[in-house]
Amino acid sequence: MKNPVSTRNAVSLTELLFVLSMCTLVLSMSGVLLQRVMRIESTSRAFTDSERSCTRLSHQLRDDIHQAVSAELVSVTTAEGVFVRLQQLNEVSVEYGRKADRLQRTIRKANEIVARDEFIIPRFATVAIRRLQAPDRIVLLIAPPSLAAATDADRQLQSYRAIPVGVEIEATLRQLPATSAQREQGS
């Protein structure tokens, strides 16, 4: 006599429910894993971009300040959001301004724009610049707003995800003696 179990071509309701629930579990866990991996990839990319931008800004601002013969902090809000103007030799000036989620560096020669550069910063980050003495130096501080200060949820999330936590760049103005500055200006 043939065993009826071995030749059956249907599944019981219990088996069906078990397989369905297991499949649901597998799909859910796969979805969570995928979402997590994609979020990490996104966060890491944003972090790398911010870090690279901060490092580039640090090097560039330091270099510009070292080459400057004079510096002027702009308190009046302009259309380009300029907050510091660095005068260099040969009628070259470098301006740093803020526009929403970026810092803009503009190089002018005899009031004509010759180059522009941009550095991405967190949208809600605060930018503060001040001038200190002994030695004469400029300090630029970029930091996200504190979580306590942020009111709405979106801003809090932006602040939480604002990587890096900020940057403080301090560079000394190496003012040339008047005679050598004039000599180089004329050359």
Binding site: T7, N9, V11, E15, F18, V19, M22, C23, L25, V26, M29, S30, L33, R36, V37, I40, T43, S44, F47, E51, C54, T55, S58, R62, P135, R137, L141, A143, I163, P164, V165, G166, V167, E168, I169, E170, A171, T172, R174
Partner: protein, 145 residues
């Protein structure tokens, strides 16, 4: 009379089945659990790596700021400035237990100033920058770790 027909239908059903067996589901769950278990430490490690990289950049910026402030000072003022050396509030807030140390060594044509920054970290990181001070206060910082 009845048997050959049943055999053919069973063979056809087995070869073109569109469902999964319990064994297959259990194997897939096991493999997925293994993947999750392996990926969790990687996720945590990735976050730690990002924090370490950020801390290293903050430390490097702090040392550059300090050297930029110290190198133009005269020799007489330098020793006093080194005694009063402290970490900036910005970095102290972000790097727990940050401590700054300075070392001034005479070299052939001037002095060599080494600033080191340490902070509380499981890997005990230490970042150091060196600057060479000459009579005309030109300097050449170089990062060492």
């Amino acid at each position: 009379m009845f048997r050959p027909q049943t055999y053919r239908s069973i063979t056809f059903a087995c070869s073109s089945r569109s469902a999964t067996t319990v064994l297959e589901v259990i194997v897939s769950i096991t493999m997925l659990m293994a993947a999750l278990t392996l990926s969790l430490p990687l996720i945590l490690h990735n976050e730690r790596l990002l924090i370490e990289q950020r801390n290293y950049r903050l430390a490097l910026d702090e040392l550059s700021n300090q050297l930029d402030r110290l190198t133009p000072t005269s020799r007489e003022e330098l020793s006093l400035a080194l005694e009063q050396l402290t970490v900036s509030p910005f970095v102290a807030e972000r790097l727990p237990g940050a401590a700054l140390t300075a070392e001034l060594n005479p070299i052939d044509a001037g002095q060599r100033l080494i600033l080191s920054l340490t902070w509380q970290d499981p890997n005990e990181h230490k970042v150091a920058l060196a600057a060479w001070l000459f009579q005309d206060t030109t300097f050449a910082p170089s990062p060492t770790r």
